[in-house]
Subunit: 333 residues, 2 copies
């Protein structure tokens, strides 16, 4: 490229990097040549000396539409930068999650953004010592990486208070289980679950606490709700820790011949698009995923630019009340 355009490789490099020390004339000449030859710098070669302009995003899976919001926010933020985000699947086991992060490191990404609920904090810090890192959806405080998360305590509180205010007492909860090495209190599902218990007690409903431990997906919510509904004193309201589980819970309630919200109210968390459909009308907690994605991108680039001090960015959720929740025994549906 350089020889073909009668300029030195250094000149080309400088122009591409917007570096200091090129005359306007030279700049024009190089730019013209780049244009003409359709030249594109090889990221791997750049990576050998410095940056690859690649950032890695680890997501456990892509089945939760909430992750799509995060990715969209991140993509939007990176649009005006030289960086490109690539997503790699973290999977369902710790082993796979670790391997995904390693795969990113092996490829010299400039930074890592991850939703990694399974790894230990120690492991995350090892990674963060090597590469600029932003951790999503975990609440622990680290001096090595930035954190972006939803205030899950506030969100869960909104839901339980809403159900109590409607007059419910037998409010049950569906939570998620995994074999994480994180401190339980740092994981969102445990926070939502613990907050549910706390708020129930604060309302004097400690004896009504009923938790089904299952998974944050359709099948998990379905099975969790079935289990709850089969108990001697079934709940009049179910708070599923995630919308995907709430969709399963709705199915279980209907299948049991009960109506929503007439017989059972159902609420979720995440406010996925589906929740807004009139025949689902799921009361849910909205956390701004796109905002989280943007924030993660911004924080990561700051780290890449050299910031070493940790930053924690927290999104405040809000309750979106829809038709799936109402006073117990209301004629509804």
């Amino acid at each position: 490229m350089a020889t073909h355009a009668q300029v030195s490789v250094t000149a080309v490099s400088k122009v591409i990097r917007n570096a200091y020390g090129v005359s306007p004339a030279m700049k024009d000449r190089v730019k013209a040549a780049i244009e003409e030859l359709g030249y594109r710098p090889q990221a791997v070669a750049r990576g050998m000396r410095g940056r690859t302009f690649t950032i890695g995003l680890v997501l456990p899976h892509i089945r939760n539409p909430f992750f799509a919001d995060i990715l969209d926010g991140l993509t939007e933020y990176l649009e005006n930068t030289d960086y490109q985000a690539f997503m790699i699947q973290g999977g369902a086991t710790r082993k796979v999650e670790l391997r995904a992060v390693d795969a990113l490191m092996d490829r010299q990404v400039d930074g890592i953004i991850m939703v990694a609920p399974l790894a230990s904090k120690a492991r995350l810090e090892e990674v963060a010592k090597e590469k600029p890192t932003v951790v999503l959806a975990r609440h622990e405080r680290s001096s090595y990486y930035d954190s972006v998360f939803d205030d899950d305590e506030a969100g869960a509180e909104l839901v339980v208070n809403h159900l109590v205010e409607l007059g419910h007492r037998r409010i049950a909860h569906i939570t998620h289980q995994d074999d994480s090495q994180a401190r339980p209190a740092d994981l969102l599902h445990n926070i939502r679950s613990a907050t549910y218990e706390r708020v129930m007690r604060e309302h004097g409903l400690g004896d009504e606490i009923a938790i089904a431990t299952s998974f944050y997906h359709e099948q998990g919510g379905y099975e969790g709700a079935r289990e709850l509904l089969s108990r001697p004193t079934p709940p009049t309201a179910i708070f599923a820790g995630a919308d995907q589980a709430a969709l399963g819970a709705l199915a279980a309630v209907h299948e049991a011949g009960l109506s929503v919200p007439g017989d059972v109210s159902v609420a979720g968390y995440d406010n996925i698009h589906l929740a807004a459909l009139p025949n689902i009308a799921l009361t849910s907690v909205d956390q701004d995923g796109a905002e989280m994605g943007r924030a993660a991108g911004k924080l990561l680039l700051e780290r890449i630019e050299g910031r070493m001090t940790p930053v924690r960015f927290s999104v405040t959720p809000s309750l979106v009340v829809r038709g799936s929740t109402a006073a117990p025994g209301s004629s509804g549906d």
Copy 2:
């Protein structure tokens, strides 16, 4: 690494690549050193001389759970290889889609698998001439890349026949619109739509053809169905070209005060997990996404190994009948 372990860099390289010309003794020594130092080869450096062991997957977005099946299939297939798949979002416009592919090329991925409905065939072939390429979900025949797709004609036929057999005559269809530069007949939504028209005619129902042009997502299906239901002679059955749209259609039907399948039958395409939930019970066409992902991975690796002749892999869909479809005017719901 090499010096530290008293072996030459060449030896290390050979061992890592399983190359010819290392004695068992040397092999052991190197392996021990690799283990001890936790050495991991840099993919970018390897990429400068040969492969990066990275394959790029382009998906338009990650909101369709069907894409998750594809990714899972691909990931599963690559698990026992040295390759890693990274996903990049192709986005909603042709410009973004092209940029995503460029980003992959810039990073010297060893091959590209893409769901790229917007690009022209010519553009795909340009890419395929540079890099081993597998194109998903498009039906055109190219001599430069492999194709993996669902037999959308067969699938659409299954749905329309099913509805006709139930006794429906006023069967409407919801299709998807975009500003693709592909030949329309090569895109799955056009194939489904054209097949719907053809089968309707074959059943002597040419006059009943009613198509709402919208989008393959919840909102699109909702709006499409509303439009269809507001016509002078509303349909008794709606075939949405994708489950996501079908979910929106279900919402519109319910909102109109009509019952499913009593007043209106609804069928979709993709058989996403949600379709199986008892309260949704969506009749849908199952296409094996995981199988498509595995096939794409296999074909791509073959190409990377040197195959130049094009292969087309087609998945045969099957109909999954559930509660959302029944004879017109049946008491159901």
